[in-house]
């Protein structure tokens, strides 16, 4: 009994000592003051050196908080209770957030650097006239394949995936829109198709792909492809860039039938307290030099046209990640299909996943 009480007392003392340390550190770092900009982003999705530079230049202190999925981030912002001045959701999430009144309109007069963004990436269907968002990174969905493992065979289209030679060789990302979109594209339909017959047809086509599918996985797809667990993977271009840099045998292609064009944009959610600082931060990130530095650190494609000059040539000229948009096949942005349609997509995707085995 004495031991028990002593033990617990020791734990409490240790905890409070640690708490005190944290408090001092926080103070030393300048968090907790009111001169802060709270940035809500994916983990490790910004060059920390840029944050330090921003803090030095403007005097605002950045509180960097992270999320792991758009959906979880939206739930947090919808509920309120926490301050986020800038967030970085993906395209489809932005249209949902606009619909649910979760975003504050941007003041374009405070974002002079917006002029550097490639015009093609502005005024898109998920946010007309960029009233609420400005592009941060962009990319495509495509196929990563291992030249060595395929014995010289190349892949150029979605339909190549149905090749019986690829038995048990394909990794898919665990996303209903991505996988269904791939099947729809392979059939020549739009990946925003809402015709249930077309969707059923796509699902039946997917069922025939199943023998080739080794697994349906999440972010770890990068690790698995780089480790040569499978010869082919359907991935986002950002992931592709990263693994190609790790494994020479890998290549990336945007299928010729068309694919998804995605964006991660900066927004100011309704939970913002420091609107001034939020605009300053967004404008800072839109600066071509900063955008280039960030793109080099993160490895994703920057939508900043002026930034390309500051990027190493072999990155800026890589047609896989900076494709010629006129020559590329039909690239579409995900449209907000509404909850019911999304549920239907998911239902079909779930059925597809369930019937393996």
């Amino acid at each position: 009994m004495k031991r028990l009480v002593q033990g617990f007392a020791a734990i409490f003392i240790a905890a409070f000592a640690l708490m005190f340390m944290t408090h001092r550190l926080n103070e030393a770092e300048g968090y907790g003051g009111d001169k802060t900009v709270s940035v809500y982003n994916w983990g490790d999705y910004i060059d920390p050196a840029l944050i330090r530079k921003f803090e030095k230049e403007t005097g605002w202190k950045v509180v960097y908080q992270t999320f792991d999925s758009n959906e979880a981030m939206m739930a947090k912002i919808a509920q309120g209770g926490a301050t986020f001045d800038v967030a970085v959701p993906s395209d489809y999430a932005i249209s949902k957030m606009i619909e649910e009144n979760l975003l504050l309109p941007l003041d374009h007069s405070k974002l002079p650097n917006l002029k550097y963004i490639e015009p093609r990436f502005l005024d898109l269907s998920f946010d007309p006239h960029n009233r609420y968002s400005v592009p941060y990174f962009w990319g495509t969905v495509g196929i990563v394949y291992n030249r060595g493992m395929l014995g010289g065979k190349t892949i150029t289209s979605w339909n190549d995936l149905w090749d019986p030679d690829l038995r048990n060789q394909i990794l898919l990302v665990d996303g209903a829109r991505e996988v269904m979109g791939m099947a729809l594209n392979s059939l020549g339909y739009s990946l925003n198709d809402t015709n249930k017959q077309h969707l059923q047809e796509a699902k039946r086509k997917l069922d025939r792909l199943m023998p080739n599918v080794k697994a349906i996985v999440g972010d770890e797809i990068k690790l698995l492809l780089a480790n040569e667990e499978a010869a082919v993977g359907v991935v986002w271009s950002g992931d592709a860039a990263e693994i190609i840099s790790e494994n020479e045998a890998l290549d990336y292609v945007v299928p010729k039938e068309g694919s998804n064009l995605w964006f991660d944009n900066m927004v100011i959610p309704k939970t913002a307290k420091n609107i001034e600082g939020a605009h300053a931060f967004i404008n800072f990130m839109l600066d071509p030099k900063h955008a280039a530095q960030n793109a080099e650190y993160v490895g994703y494609s920057t939508p900043n046209r002026a930034a390309l000059r500051y990027l190493p040539k072999d990155i800026a000229n890589d047609r896989r990640f900076y494709p010629d948009l006129d020559a590329a096949g039909r690239l579409e942005v995900y449209e907000n299909l509404g909850k019911r349609m999304l549920a239907y997509y998911n239902e079909l995707f779930l059925q597809f996943k369930m019937q393996q085995k």
Binding site: L171, A176, A215, I216, G218, E228, R340, N346, L350, M354
Partner: protein, 268 residues
């Protein structure tokens, strides 16, 4: 007078129950009667009874059972022999220590270890079995689950074994019982409380496993936990997610009532 002081324990515990269990439960049940547009409906419950969800439910129970059994089979001898070592307390803690490393990192390590060119396959090749696909199989799924849950099984069994008076075993020995008979007739029955605690601590959370179904099993195993996760986050069909959760909880309660009554009645 006795009753009066005994009930004091119920106050803080009941406060916790009401705030953090009953309130969320009410919220969950309420949600389960709403469809995706927020209208009242019973459709979610009809949907749960369709083959696809029944199949999922069957999988969940089957794998939870498998994981619990495997944990017990591996955990019991571990606990038993741990009690025989010299610095048993230290060893026990060292067994728990790996639990405190982030799960995602450990799972990534397993992806590397079980991969085609990983350590596990190198080992299989070395002993002449030959390389085979380990990732995305039932085996690796159960293996990693057991890895995660094993301390939950070992700890209570270890404690139960520790309480065993050594004189009892000596007595059984003196009466001529063999090692195995002593274990079966004396040791095991007396550590049942630990076994029970361990099985509960493994089986119940195993029912709603979700992350490693994707990471290790590559979605080849889809459990109720995965489905709930999907409905809450991806589909944003909270009604359906809540319905599955309600069904899961009813199933859990049934198990508690089935395993809880009877035995305890006798001992009190």
């Amino acid at each position: 007078m006795e009753r009066a002081w005994r009930n004091w324990y119920l106050i803080p515990y009941a406060a916790w129950l009401v705030l953090f269990v009953i309130a969320p439960l009410v919220f969950l049940v309420y949600e389960s009667f709403l469809d995706i547009d927020g209208q009242w409906t019973l459709a979610n419950y009809e949907k749960v009874l369709t083959p696809i969800y029944l199949k999922m439910m069957a999988y969940s129970f089957w794998y939870a059972l498998l994981i619990t059994l495997a944990s017990l089979l591996i955990g019991y001898p571990t606990a038993y022999w741990l009690t025989k070592t010299r610095h048993k307390q230290l060893w026990l803690l060292l067994l728990i220590l790996p639990m405190w490393v982030n799960l995602l990192l450990k799972v990534y390590a397993f992806l590397g270890l079980f991969g085609t060119y990983g350590l596990a396959n190198a080992f299989l090749q070395a002993i002449g079995v030959g390389a085979r696909q380990l990732l995305f199989t039932d085996f690796s799924f159960v293996f990693v689950s057991v890895y995660i849950f094993i301390p939950f099984m070992v700890l209570p069994i270890f404690n139960a074994l520790e309480e065993l008076p050594p004189s009892l075993i000596d007595a059984a020995r003196d009466l001529g019982a063999s090692g195995w008979t002593t274990f079966r007739r004396v040791v095991f029955p007396l550590t049942l409380s630990g076994v029970k605690a361990g099985c509960q601590a493994v089986f119940i959370p195993a029912l709603s496993l979700f992350m490693i179904t994707r990471l290790i099993a590559g979605n080849r195993v889809i459990t109720l936990g995965t489905a709930i996760e999907q409905h809450f986050l991806v589909t944003q069909d909270w009604g359906m997610g809540a319905t599955i959760a309600v069904v899961l909880m009813i199933a859990m309660a049934v198990i508690v009532f089935l395993t809880g009554s009877g035995r305890k009645e006798g001992s009190r």
